[in-house]
């Protein structure tokens, strides 16, 4: 069993398909919707956590892509300019998901992208503006 987060972007005409039903029924994947933004008639974006057998998840993702849904792993959509980070800790103050934390030995920032829930609070909280998340 593995657990992985994906960002899904739906084209305007894909809103009427029960894709989550198929992910559960046909691919035996447990899905957890962490964030959703739907603009009817325009587009929609979703942050999903998929849990299941590695092979099933791969096939499920393949199925989604065939439905014209953009499905990309979350870590590929998070951009963090680590080189410029000064380890001030401001981002950790707002990251209630626990993705951004300070190492209590070195006091350097640690970023576990797999914990991110795309609340996007770190983007304005970083005084150096080092975060970008491509959700929409």
């Amino acid at each position: 069993m593995i657990k992985k987060r994906y960002i899904l972007n739906f084209p305007p005409d894909s809103g009427d398909k029960p894709f989550s039903y198929h992910l559960v029924k046909d691919y035996d994947i447990r899905i957890n919707i962490l964030k959703a933004e739907v603009y009817p008639g325009k587009r929609g974006s979703l942050l999903l956590e998929l849990q299941g057998k590695k092979e099933n998840i791969e096939n499920g993702v393949e199925y989604l892509r065939k439905q014209n849904i953009v499905c990309e792993s979350l870590d590929k959509r998070i951009h963090f300019n680590e080189e410029k980070c000064i380890d001030c800790g401001n981002c950790t103050a707002v990251c209630f998901a626990g993705a951004l934390t300070m190492n209590h030995e070195t006091w350097k920032l640690e970023f576990d992208k797999s914990q991110c829930v795309v609340c996007e609070l770190c983007i304005p909280a970083c005084p150096l503006h080092l975060f970008e998340i491509d959700f929409r």
Partner: protein
């Protein structure tokens, strides 16, 4: 009777490579087993450091005279307003200055751009005089073209600082970072046991003329900082339990490094400047050894509600608790986060230690000690006659 060392003795040892220099964190650890007398015997200098956003910062710049010359009466650097009331081509750019139409780029960013060697657009206007006929200039400048480029920060390195929380139902944006509603986080700022002014709380060795690490170069303490306050309540270890004393510092920006000077923009607050400061503390006697031995469990600070008018105090915590990741306020567990960089502060303390050990840096006896028994006035508003 414990040993008493002079500045001269310590500097001689530094020059000859015999001195023992530790960081304030190292000496705090050592103090768990050694007495102040033993520490005074073994250790000559202790390095302290901080790297935090310090809003009361800025730079003095002399642009040089153009031909024909101009008496600059309105000045912009990359659109950021600079002070125009200093002769013809002198100016001061404050870190927090900005064009209201572009609030996320300010004086701190101009200072950083110049420091990094980038070109900056200087535009200035004047009425034109007999000796300065020109009325307008627009040109590019950089760190090589300007004469003086001096960091002059009226208030830096606060001796302790409050912890910020927010008890209201809405998120607020402050210089202490983003504070989540219902006290869901708490932010704190100083480097605790490594913080300069917490290691010499009575200012026996830090005063006017003290040579310091400033932004990666040698700088100086030039005055007590603005809002210098020695009347704040202290705990049993002689540590003020909220923001108290400050220092004004100066140094040559042309010698500094962008590693230790960093512009910042705080959402819905404004621009500020992270400044790296390191101060060496000579261990003159057992009393100084005792002061620098202070550790995070002995340094307390006040928790203030930044969401309520008058920022009421909700509690008092130690830096040991703050660093654990959680504090308790009224029985509620609140997650903590720093807003100044301890990793950078440690790097500064280590670098300063290295300079001292190589004999490249002397400890300086203050030319003048700081005033005692100072307090702060608020701004009292009085009625103004309208003509």
């Amino acid at each position: 009777m414990s040993k008493i060392k002079t500045y001269e003795e310590i500097n001689r040892k530094l020059k000859s490579g015999e001195a023992v220099v530790l960081t304030a964190e190292e000496v705090a650890k050592m103090a768990k087993e050694a007495t102040p007398e033993e520490i005074a015997e073994k250790v000559d200098v202790v390095t302290t450091a901080t790297f935090g956003a310090m809003c009361s910062s800025g730079a003095i710049i002399n642009f040089g005279h153009a031909s024909p010359p101009i008496r600059m009466e309105k000045i912009r650097l990359n659109g950021v307003p600079c002070y125009e009331g200093l002769a013809a081509v002198d100016s001061y750019i404050g870190a927090t200055a900005c064009d209201p139409d572009n609030p996320s780029y300010g004086g701190a960013h101009v200072i950083q751009d110049l420091l990094e060697g980038k070109d900056v657009v200087l535009e200035a206007w004047a009425k034109g005089t007999d000796c300065y006929p020109r009325k307008h200039i627009k040109t590019k400048i950089n760190i090589e073209t300007i004469n003086e480029f001096v960091l002059f920060n009226p208030r830096n390195a606060y001796q302790n600082y409050n912890v910020a929380v927010n008890t209201t139902k809405r998120m607020i944006h402050t210089y202490m970072g983003t504070l989540l509603p219902n006290m869901r986080n708490a932010t704190y700022s100083t480097s605790g046991e490594l913080s300069p002014l917490l290691n010499d709380p009575e200012f026996r060795t830090i005063g006017i003329g003290t040579r310091i690490f400033l932004g990666g170069a040698q700088g100086f303490v030039v005055w007590p900082g603005t809002q210098f306050n020695t009347s704040k309540p202290k705990n049993e270890f002689g540590i003020p339990v909220s923001n108290a004393a400050t220092i004004a510092v100066m140094g040559n920006l042309k010698e500094m490094s962008p590693d230790y000077i960093q512009a910042a923009y705080f959402e819905k607050y404004g621009v500020s400047l992270f400044v790296g400061i390191g101060i060496p503390i000579p261990i003159l006697d057992a009393d100084m050894a005792k002061r620098v031995s202070i550790n995070n469990s002995q340094i307390e600070t006040s928790v203030l509600d930044y969401g309520s008018p008058g920022t009421p105090k909700l509690g008092q915590v130690t830096y040991e608790e703050l660093r654990s990741g959680f504090i308790k306020i009224d029985g509620k567990k609140v997650r903590t986060a720093p807003v100044s960089s301890l990793a950078k502060a440690r790097k500064i303390a280590d670098e300063l230690k290295d300079w001292l050990l190589k004999g490249e840096f002397e400890v300086t006896k203050p030319i003048q000690i700081f005033p005692k028994n100072t307090a702060l006035k608020g701004l009292k508003e009085t009625e103004v006659d309208n003509d």
